[in-house]
Symmetry: C2
Subunit: 484 residues, 2 copies
Amino acid sequence: MIDLGLRFKAQSDIFSDRMPPEKIRDVLVSELPDAPSGLDAVLSMFAQTVLPLCKNEASPHFVGFGDTGDDPAALAGGLLALLTQQNLINQSFDAPSATFVEMVVLRWLRDLLGYHNAPVSNIQTVWDVGGVITHGGTTSNAVAMMLAREHKAPGTMHVGVVNPNQFGIIVPRGIGHYSVKSALTWIGVGDQAIEVDTHAFRYDLTALERALHEHRDQVMSVVAYAGDSRTQTVEHLRRVYEIVSTADPRIWLHVDACWGLVAAFSDKFRYLLDGITEFDSVTVDPHKVMAVPYSLSALVVRQPASLRTVSSYSDLIMQEDYAFGQVTPFIGTKGWLSLKLWMMMLSHGRAGLAALAEHRVSKARRFAALLDEHPHMLRMHDPDLSAVAFVYLPSNVRPESTVTELEIDWINTVNQGIHDRMLAEGSWYLHQFSLPDDHGRLRAGATLYPFRFMANNPRTGEHHMAEVIDYVTKLGGNLEGELR
Amino acid sequence: MIDLGLRFKAQSDIFSDRMPPEKIRDVLVSELPDAPSGLDAVLSMFAQTVLPLCKNEASPHFVGFGDTGDDPAALAGGLLALLTQQNLINQSFDAPSATFVEMVVLRWLRDLLGYHNAPVSNIQTVWDVGGVITHGGTTSNAVAMMLAREHKAPGTMHVGVVNPNQFGIIVPRGIGHYSVKSALTWIGVGDQAIEVDTHAFRYDLTALERALHEHRDQVMSVVAYAGDSRTQTVEHLRRVYEIVSTADPRIWLHVDACWGLVAAFSDKFRYLLDGITEFDSVTVDPHKVMAVPYSLSALVVRQPASLRTVSSYSDLIMQEDYAFGQVTPFIGTKGWLSLKLWMMMLSHGRAGLAALAEHRVSKARRFAALLDEHPHMLRMHDPDLSAVAFVYLPSNVRPESTVTELEIDWINTVNQGIHDRMLAEGSWYLHQFSLPDDHGRLRAGATLYPFRFMANNPRTGEHHMAEVIDYVTKLGGNLEGELR
């Protein structure tokens, strides 16, 4: 089984086989047989029918995300977590040592981000640790929004939401992640994100000030991105903190640093996160930036005791000081996710994490340089971290002169067409999403559908970067011909 | 690593080493070193310092829960999920075949429970499937409560909670699981569970009718347990359905069948679940009853389209028909949890699942018989499934005559003392919790602190059952002597 899995991971293709979803559905959806099957038969069915259709994100051709999940120590941790079956819901009989491994990685993450850690002997409950491990950034962000709700109106956990209008959040327009907005719908305060204009993929600070004034008393939280989920641009966190705390110091400040955590690894990039420790909560996503297999996120909080406000209680299982089940909303039983991270971080050490960050950023800059040399490629931003968003420019478009709305439509048609074809062929993967042209590279105010390259994959080398640009160029040329 | 993990699982002890939490904390909590460590060094540190303190729930002496996580095919699925790194948030490039494996297991679960499945060709979106996979029963129950909230007041997702008083839920007093109550605090409707008296660990149906009448228009959901988390007593589901639907057909009916799923495996026990398909949603927990490693739960819904009411939308990643990320509140990125279950179910087949259920129930009955033969043991109920709750009776207590409140206190003191000592010694594990004496075995209305034996562990044999009873008797005798 290990061989089967590692051969799959090591293959250079993203997909061995590609089929439309309905065909896969028709092949795989069947009744549960009455008779048992031997494990060999099950594995052989898996290897022949299911596995060839799987995406291999560790392929050097998968350059649109970075969830390679291929760190050897993290894989070892995942394997041992699977076989040891600790349950982090409580400490005494379910996770005697795992509970403290979880605390250790939370403290390491806090330390990297610059948050203070209590002396070891002062950790006497889970509320002294200052963070929780969750299954993903969406859950972590939802917990953060619950902390904000409780901070705005203490006791809402018990009495329910009263006057939903007071629980608005401010997010940057067009570059936010859906998870904080969805969290509002889940926690009962309604879909009421207040979108504020951006400039160069960061808050337009004047617009932020104005929004805070206009929505006075209606805002429970301002959300900033340390590496947004499109271009990974890191917000000017200290300036956002200063503006928000001046306007209303009661507002809960949350940073989504799912991508930006990587900046905390190296002294060269830590300046990007200046001000982060003034924020009340920070979401990080080791499965995105540390090659840790799915899934693992953490929410770190400035004031550890704030987690008391969203705690659960049950005499069934969790009535003890070190039971993490008390401080993880939406989660009961929880496997030993943190072991993957403990092993990964120990195996790299601080020095190894710094090297990882530096390698990625320099690779992203190299990719940016390759784009700049190419007549058909236009970068949408200067990369802060490891993401580079760019568009394919059809032959007749000249970015130097005024680009019309009609030309924007044409650029989008071609770029979306390229992505569709790339997805159908499956030989390369670049991600695509909507993005405001926030640097005005083509037409200020336009919405574009760029590609996103991500430099997280250690197997993607210089020649792959050149090849994927050639591939996009080829598809673009073909499409231009066909569509005209 | 596999050897290390399997040796751990195969050891007969629950713990190799036992320490108070503060001592473990002081050993494990340390700074992240600057220098990298080789994987061998990390593994050796783990094997020497962390692993000996871990609990081994697959030990035959761990008889208080059943999360053995030791099904070979499920472990194979866990391993291959770890190495293949599919992300169930979307289908096209993240989980081309995994998405359909997830659908298959949901359909198998639906089928076992008796829910209708649409013809394969009619599954054209994730909203045609009728269920979601989540990380645990707590999350599944929270999604169910959100469905109930939206059913009671459509549009609450968008406008927020208005008038929290309309979102009450009815639960059975003293035997409910904290997760549904906690879910109310998370989803913004406030901590307002209405507890209804029970009889023999099921709703007192007259009291249920009265509560529905008294709280008319204030109830969004009635929650029933198909196997409560203490004695695994299965509710009379059809009668609850009849009473609730007569009183108010708009009420969302939810069953927590985390333990009761096992009754669906065998024709011998399926009658226990009669009426379950009248309920709007059902939570099941394969990691509890199918020896699947942590973690894996499912929420199954009567009307597949009801999941539309709690869906999320994002153009970042999920805008496609088969993206499960749209229908899993609180979760974004999600690993391939369902592969463990697919392999487990295929390897057992329907016949194997039936045998599993029958083996467990007969083992529980055998344990009950052993208790009945023993002068110091008193069962709290007749087991429906694989749990048996019982108390140690101190020498001077005679259940035949009237048991006083003072004697109840004494019984509780001794039983809680036994549990403390058992936990400290670590050679056996029986679970303990508060439980109403709902059969009046000692004193009707009293709250007891019984032990709970669980027959899920395949390694626990007849002699282990006798030994754990002897062990409790010995600890009880010692404690009686010391405490007098």
